[in-house]
């Protein structure tokens, strides 16, 4: 599976939210409305973020990859949240530090074996400073998708 199969303009959100709670509710409710996730997705997402935070520091600003178990997902998708103001996440991994997040890839995933390419592309995107700069300057949902796909193509061919 490729990234272009799981992202779409309808799943890009420009959000003005105060905290992770509001952010998760905002995106998950819309995903649920589209039938992509089950009603159990939101509570599971919140719980998982508490136990296993998903914030990541990059050179420019923080990114987060909130997600939860496959059983709460109907259809594989990645929604993209561009935040008007940064939201504080706890950092993934062994440390306990916090990170100010401006870009969110919310993952609704089922089978890990299908995900490798998509997730590697997302990972290389967030390590790409030019992409990170470009994506926060986008003014429309379409522009976000175009930017993601443009840079994804470059990063995929660089990996080969």
């Amino acid at each position: 599976m490729e990234l272009k199969n799981v992202i779409s303009e309808e799943l890009v959100f420009f959000l003005d939210v105060q905290d992770t709670e509001e952010l998760f509710e905002s995106i998950a409710t819309r995903l649920q409305g589209k039938g992509i996730v089950k009603s159990s997705y939101l509570p599971a997402l919140k719980q998982r973020e508490k136990e296993f935070p998903t914030g990541l520091a990059t050179e420019l600003f923080g990114v987060a990859l909130p997600h939860t178990d496959a059983e709460h997902v109907n259809e594989e998708a990645i929604s993209i949240g561009v935040l008007k103001q940064p939201v504080t996440f706890r950092h993934m991994g062994m440390g306990a530090q916090e990170v100010e997040v401006k870009l969110v890839f919310m993952l609704a995933l089922q089978k890990p074996e299908n995900q490798l390419e998509v997730l590697q592309t997302v990972t290389s995107l967030i390590q790409n400073k030019a992409f990170m700069e470009a994506v926060t300057k986008c003014a429309s949902e379409k522009e976000v998708i175009d930017t993601v796909l443009n840079y994804a193509e470059v990063s995929v061919s660089n990996n080969k």
Binding site: R48, L56, A70, Q127
Partner: protein
């Protein structure tokens, strides 16, 4: 053959990326024959970490197993990757 476990909170997302990168790294360094990779979620593994020679985690682990676990987050952010592979290599060669 060393047993290398890669785990994250769900066993489907970040551990997938890390497993892919570690697999490539093993290949590049001709270490494939020396290591068997396992991917899983942390809650399924915490009580049997001793079965593995190397444990890489992208998520927080309890204090009592911290010494055994290598932080896999560098493979997601790109910072500190060499140091992380250094730790893995040390155990493979031990």
């Amino acid at each position: 053959m060393k047993k290398l476990l890669i785990m994250c909170g769900t066993g489907i997302a970040t551990s997938t990326v890390v497993t892919g990168k570690v697999r490539d790294w093993l290949k590049e360094n001709n270490l494939e024959d020396k290591v068997h990779l396992y991917q899983s979620k942390i809650t399924d593994e915490l009580n049997r970490l001793d079965e593995y020679d190397i444990v890489v985690s992208t998520t927080l682990v309890p204090d009592n197993v911290k010494d055994k676990v290598i932080d896999g987050v560098p493979l997601l952010t790109g910072f500190g990757t060499e140091e992380m592979y250094g730790k893995i290599l040390e155990i493979i060669n031990s």
